[in-house]
């Protein structure tokens, strides 16, 4: 499979994957960009191993230096003490270990792929070419690792619990305090490693890009937290534009800015940097949209709580319906007893089914078309026509909307 094909197809797989248990589930599922492509996990694994072959060797998730350090073994020891408690850090840690074989470092992989796709800059071909392995500069490899570190750090930090909101079912306060302590420390440790790696890149523009990505990510996580805290309340009155802004912060910014930074490291000009930014952004966004879509297109959802009232389809639905009508419908559903999101959705969509089946799917389409367009300028490997009838990401959207059409009736019947 050629690199170009892979880049084109990656959004498809990423988009089509998504956590098994829905967008609002535990951190573990956020960790994993698990490769459940609609066809088979085996196929997904094949794609990733292709990708890893193309970039030379797999991104080392947190380099050996980091794994061998005293601090990390200290963390591991401390986390072991948490076993048996309810602290979310455990879930995160389990996700990290459990998923490590399952392509945890996809963000890093994307950064490497786009680095290779872009190749060395024509303007500055002389510099550092000795430093290249499999067509990727060593500094770009470090960058891929930094991207993963920042992502993981925030994942760990988002698993902090508020001590005064604990229920008795959460176990002893002391355990939770200790869990918080370790979660903060390990997140900070990862961030410090990221900072260290950034400093070693000797490029202040890249430092600024990644620092601002961290700032975006933190703000995005803040929005996500405040949305999910109000899980049982009425949704915020946000339109799809606000939703896009917030999702860019929480999901798009890191990948977008990392891709851009990878271009900066290879001394590519502003135009190529912007393309890489757009590619990263749209790929991350379509992944998020797709995982938002999952609860509504899956035949059976085991857990109704996984419905996020601030997910893309709901926000679109609310925008279509109008705020007042939406609130009225939710209140009605609440009056009938415990708010069962699955049922709310069913009752709401009983009316609007047809239009809504179109709407969520049309969003990733517009996103992916853009990331599709930006591929073309990259001087890459032989330009074989993609094997699918339509290019990868496009294919995904078509397929996704078909899925919606097929599955929605099942869900509602």
């Amino acid at each position: 499979m050629s690199l170009r094909q892979l880049l084109l197809r990656l959004p498809c797989y990423l988009g089509a994957s998504g956590p098994r248990r829905g967008p609002l589930d535990t951190i573990a599922s956020v960790v994993s960009w698990r490769g459940q492509s609609s066809r088979s996990p085996a196929h997904w694994n094949q794609v990733v191993s292709e990708a890893e072959k193309i970039v030379g060797y797999p991104t080392s998730f947190m380099s050996l230096r980091c794994l061998l350090s005293d601090e990390l073994s200290n963390i591991a020891m401390q986390v072991r003490k948490l076993v048996g408690t309810q602290h979310p850090l455990l879930t995160t840690a389990r996700g990290l270990v459990h998923d490590s074989q399952n392509n945890l470092q996809l963000r890093g992989l994307v950064v490497l792929l786009i680095s290779k796709a872009a190749g060395p800059s024509s303007v500055n071909a002389s510099c550092q070419s000795y430093d290249m392995v499999s067509g990727i500069y060593s500094c770009q490899r470090s960058l891929a690792e930094i991207t993963e570190l920042i992502h993981t750090a925030l994942l760990v930090h988002r698993g902090i619990v508020n001590l005064d909101e604990l229920q008795s079912s959460d176990g002893p306060l002391k355990d939770m305090q200790f869990g918080n302590k370790i979660a903060i420390l390990s997140g900070d440790f990862l961030l410090a490693n990221a900072c260290n790696g950034l400093a070693l890149l000797q490029n202040t523009k890249v430092v600024e890009l990644l620092a601002s990505a961290l700032m975006d990510l933190v703000q995005g996580v803040y929005h996500e937290n405040s949305n999910s805290a109000k899980e049982n309340h009425i949704t915020d009155d946000i339109g799809i534009l606000t939703w896009k802004e917030q999702t860019f912060l929480s999901h798009g910014a890191l990948l977008a800015k990392s891709c851009q930074a990878a271009m900066e490291l290879a001394k590519h000009d502003a135009e190529v940097q912007d393309m890489a930014f757009q590619y990263g952004k749209h790929m991350a966004m379509s992944h998020k949209i797709n995982s938002d879509l999952q609860p509504f297109i899956k035949e059976k959802t085991s857990d109704s709580l996984t419905f996020n009232l601030n997910s893309a389809p709901v926000v679109l639905h609310q925008e279509f319906l109008g705020r007042d009508l939406w609130i009225k419908q939710i209140r009605e559903a609440q009056r009938k007893g415990r708010l069962d999101y699955a049922k709310v959705w069913v009752s709401l969509n009983g009316v609007q089914r047809l239009r809504d089946t179109q709407k969520p799917a049309s969003l990733p389409l517009s996103c992916d078309r853009r990331s599709l367009i930006i591929h073309s300028p990259f001087p890459t490997e032989p330009q074989n026509p993609p094997q699918h009838s339509s290019p990868g990401s496009h294919y995904y959207c078509v397929r996704a909307s078909k899925q919606v059409e097929v599955h929605l009736p099942c869900l509602f019947n």
């Binding site: 200290n74 902090i160 001590l163 900070d188 961030l191 202040t204 600024e208 700032m215 803040y222």
Partner: protein
């Protein structure tokens, strides 16, 4: 009557005759402890005074040190009453370049969400001591004058002052969550008001804003220097988790932790402004060593104040370190006199009554005095380093600042 006698005896003799805390007198421990500390400090004052005398004979232009120590006891004084001349007050001198410091920091925090912005700005309310920014700008001027007699602070050097304060604040926010602290600088901590979940994000956000500001200076050396601080802060926090069995190792461990958690920030931001102001590596090392020694002294005194000051003055609860299970300098020194403290240190003062008992041991021992003395030695080293620079009002201010560090009571 008996208790009066007890108090009198303990207050007057700097080293108590009794080797263990008097049973049934915990209520008076605070008062008698303070007196014992004052007495201890007075003695420390004397020994340091002798040292300073020998030092001043070597450096005749350092008259101000000995004069200062004549006037003020090391622990129980207020720095504000100390200096009448405006131009020599380090804070006045430094503040000339720091006007609008907090407004400028708030400008760096470009955050759209109101609540998040409020949390991040919470400690940049202008009520902090701004100790770090002051040192940084004074060092910047001292280095600039040393290098080419330039009387200006560069914009990039001033930015380091902001960044140092931001990194410091970010670490405070995280530390308070880690320690489950509820008050700081006389107000509630971020985690108590907004909850732990949001507080952690606020810390991360301040750190990212600091990193952006740092990157915008555009100097890769400076980026590396201040990145070291972030790493040290985390490693210091990790060191604090563990404790050592062996007494010698324990002290080295404590000093390493103190360097990483407090001194590294001051040392490296001093170094950063020297790099920006002067190309000479010798000057960079002077700046670094000054910052490191002052930083160590600063934290040692902080650890002393945790035993000798009252919470109203500090703006945070005292004996906080013991309650967190931490054995700081005074405890480690006291342990040499009272080996029974070993067990308490090893169980991190977790048994009921440990904190009170350890506190009394410390106040009866010369732990406070020894720690203060150690701090004085670091300050002397700092003064020795900074004196290698060409004379300037800022250099003198930095020398004075090291004394203020020793004399501070909050």
């Amino acid at each position: 009557m008996a208790s009066c006698w007890w108090r009198w005896r303990r207050g007057c003799s700097w080293r108590p005759a009794a080797r263990s805390p008097g049973p049934g007198s915990p209520g008076r421990a605070g008062l008698s402890g303070l007196r014992a500390a004052a007495a201890a400090a007075a003695r420390a004052q004397m020994s340091y005074f002798n040292l300073v005398k020998s030092l001043t004979s070597a450096f005749p232009n350092m008259y101000s040190i000995s004069r200062f120590h004549h006037m003020t006891p090391a622990v129980c004084c207020c720095s504000k009453t100390r200096s009448g001349e405006e131009y020599t007050d380090p804070f006045n001198l430094g503040w000339r370049d720091l006007k609008g410091l907090y407004e400028d920091i708030r400008k760096e925090l470009f955050i759209s969400t109101t609540e998040l912005k409020e949390m991040c700005e919470y400690y940049f309310d202008g009520k902090g001591k701004a100790f770090r920014p002051i040192i940084v700008v004074l060092m910047a001027r001292a280095c600039n004058i040393h290098h080419n007699n330039s009387r200006n602070v560069q914009a990039s050097q001033r930015a380091i002052a902001l960044i140092a304060e931001m990194i410091h604040t970010a670490s405070l926010v995280h530390d308070d969550v880690i320690d489950d602290a509820s008050s700081r600088r006389g107000k509630h901590t971020v985690n108590k008001i907004w909850g732990e979940k949001k507080a952690v994000l606020a810390g991360d956000l301040i750190l990212s804003a600091a990193s952006i500001a740092l990157a915008r200076i555009g100097n890769t050396t400076v980026v590396s220097i201040l990145t070291q601080v972030i790493e040290d802060l985390v490693r210091g926090e990790f060191l604090q988790l563990g404790s050592k069995e062996n007494e010698n190792e324990r002290f080295a461990h404590y000093l390493e932790k103190t360097f990483k958690k407090t001194a590294s920030l001051i040392a490296n931001s001093c170094k950063a402004v020297s790099v920006l102001g002067c190309p000479d590596p010798v000057v960079h090392e002077i700046a670094y060593q000054y910052g490191k020694n002052v930083g160590l002294a600063f934290q040692l005194i902080d650890d002393v104040l945790d035993f000798t000051s009252c919470s109203d003055r500090m703006g945070k609860p005292t004996s906080a370190d013991l309650k967190l299970g931490l054995a700081t300098g005074p405890v480690l020194f006291a342990c040499q006199q009272f080996p029974e403290m070993n067990a308490m240190i090893m169980r991190r003062f977790s048994s009921p009554g440990d904190v009170d008992r350890a506190r009394q041991y410390v106040l009866q021992s010369d732990g406070v005095q020894q720690t203060t003395y150690l701090a004085q030695r670091y300050c002397r080293e700092a003064v020795r380093e900074i004196s290698k620079l060409r004379p300037s009002p800022e250099r003198e201010a930095l020398i004075q600042l090291s004394e203020i560090v020793l004399a501070r009571d909050k």
